[in-house]
Point group: C2
Chain length 356, copies 2
């Protein structure tokens, strides 16, 4: 097959991990007889530096004309003093909105060989395999009005959390779909004892549930979910929630593994190109040193192969290769305390290609 | 001294733990020559059953005429099908607003003798001693409009997150005050890369900081805070944040200890009576069995003695008594897997009184 992939390296270690990803994809293309074409675009700080905008028109059109988008990372201290709407993150938020990437998938699984790295006890995390599904284009991230009002002591700042029935329904439906293909269990997280939007959310979950009799579902308050994720993460299969709760809970859940450098994510629309990215940030402290861990980005590629390209065999082969290098004991600097044994980004990439 | 305390037993195990608290307070009064007068009021489900309202006028006036309020717990399955504004929780939210309890204190400390119960590794939680200060009367909990709009697919639900400069300033100032009296370190948690209200929050923190040169402070995004609380909770001294973030993060932080049955809280106003309550809920599954752990409620009394009554010696004596019974190995059912050794609420209370 022929696939066109928009590569947005972004800032910090973004270019290094994206370089790793294109090499691995090229190898997969060679092995499985696909043609992967890469088209590059700027996003975030690097885009601000070149064009003044964190999301240039050209980048957007490159993405729209692709079958999938791979993003490195955006942001860094250099751009932190810019006014809010000119920050690198705005590029990412704009891209989510423009591509209508309403469904953010954040799987959390434990690599046995890395379980030690978790701050949680081994018996708590053993066998954890959960998927957080976060609504990504609505809620308080985009609601209007969002503004300052009044002056002096009376000055107020306002944000608006708003959801429409259709916005809630499409993400909730995705939640049931994923649960159906997994272990058949969906937890919908809200704050229905306080928020009007959560009460609508809960209503819709109860309605949509009728179409999925094979899925057993429940409601959980967000404060309780924040506890349960640590107390007993194994109780969860798929968790579906709104944008801001998803932001907080998915980052919390990522800590269950203790290895941020390993975790992928995918953001999908109804039928346009999806966006795939590692969940770690731009890590400005190690940028340019060639020591970044590429595995979260490669793991994001397995999601691209699965969801965007419907290439389950290729995805499985890549996941096996990642498991393989870890079991053989290969580690990047973030995964080992013995720095003399740490592989560079390039070396780790080579090991994965070898394992393929 | 003479002090009048409003006791709101509430629902579930609330009456049992409040009974324990009044016995212990009476003993402290005897030992230290204070007169503690108890006035009882209804709140939550029990109030709905008796009066139709989760916060009857009489309860409010009892609280306003007291020097402090002790709350057991509110809520239970019996009232969960009632419409939103008639639920037991509304009684609690109303009380917070009416008494202007804008500062919610949630200390998290580890009892060495219970460290085993934590889902986190011992080396992660050793020596944790943090205070989460949550804004409790503003933000999205109370902002207007909060409503449904439109119909059918177009139906939307709206909540409003609003903060005024003065609301932010008073809680932030409390944060700096507490940090100053503790280890001099304040972490302000927001989502300034997305929310207008967080940008105002951050501005005010930077301004107020000028008055506290002895406190070192920093800003942290809420998603990162949710990670850092698990990754390395020892890095925090005082954390100050807005209402909803505080709800989520304080419950997450409570899991660090693994012993919900141990954690107290205090909610304070500028100069009216404060409200003190265990953070565990009404636990309907064990209500009426006489096996509830009273220690979180007794620990809330130490906060009452400290903050409401300025009785540091009495507070220290009570805390020592709690430490003492734990070190001697006394446990309620929630704290031990050996149920034959579990003390009842009454027995545990007697042990604490003995230790006093
Ligand atoms: C950078 C920021 C705006 C973003 C978010 O809050 O969505 C990030 O935290 C994420 O989760 O991708
Ligand atoms: C019962 C509920 C409204 C309340 C809240 O969200 O504030 C509770 O979770 C708490 O933290 O005291």
């Amino acid at each position: 097959m022929k696939k066109r992939i928009a590569i947005l390296p972004g800032d910090g270690i973004g270019p290094e991990v994206c370089e790793s990803a294109t090499q691995v994809l090229t190898e997969i293309g060679r092995l499985y007889n696909h043609e992967f074409e890469f088209v590059y675009g700027d996003l975030g700080g690097v885009a601000i530096d070149k064009t003044g905008s964190p999301l240039p028109e050209e980048t957007l059109s490159i993405c729209k004309q692709s079958d999938a988008v791979l993003l490195g990372a955006v942001g860094g201290p250099k751009w932190e003093t810019l006014p809010g709407h000119q920050r690198p993150e705005q590029g990412l938020l704009g891209l989510r909105k423009q591509l209508e990437l309403f469904a953010n998938l954040r799987p959390v699984t434990i690599y046995d060989s890395l379980a030690e790295a978790s701050p949680l006890k081994n018996e708590v995390i053993e066998g954890v395999d959960l998927l957080i599904l976060r609504e990504l284009t609505g809620g308080i991230y985009f609601g209007e009005p969002r503004e300052r009002r009044g002056e002096g002591e009376q000055e107020t700042a306002v944000d608006t959390l708003v959801y429409s029935r259709s916005e809630i329904e499409r993400i909730v439906r995705k939640g049931f779909e994923f649960a159906k293909e997994r272990r058949g269990q969906l937890t919908s997280v809200d704050k229905a004892n306080v928020l009007e939007s959560s009460r609508l959310w809960r209503e819709i979950v109860d309605e949509v549930a009728g179409d999925y009799p094979e899925v057993s579902y429940s409601h959980m308050l967000v404060d309780n979910a924040a506890m349960q994720l640590i107390r007993n993460p194994r109780q969860f299969d798929v968790m579906v929630t709104e944008n801001m709760f998803g932001d907080i809970l998915s980052d919390e859940a990522s800590m269950i593994t203790g290895s941020l450098g390993m975790l992928p994510s995918a953001s999908m629309s109804q039928d346009g190109p999806g966006l795939f990215e590692p969940i770690h940030g731009s890590a400005p402290d190690i940028a340019g040193k060639g020591i970044a861990n590429p595995l979260a980005t490669l793991s994001s590629l397995t999601m691209m192969l699965t969801f965007a390209f419907k290439m389950p065999n290729e995805a499985a082969a890549l996941q096996d290769a990642i498991d393989d290098v870890l079991e053989k004991g290969y580690r990047t600097a973030d995964l080992t305390s013995d720095s003399s044994k740490a592989l560079s980004t390039v070396e780790m990439t080579a090991k994965v290609i070898e394992a393929l």
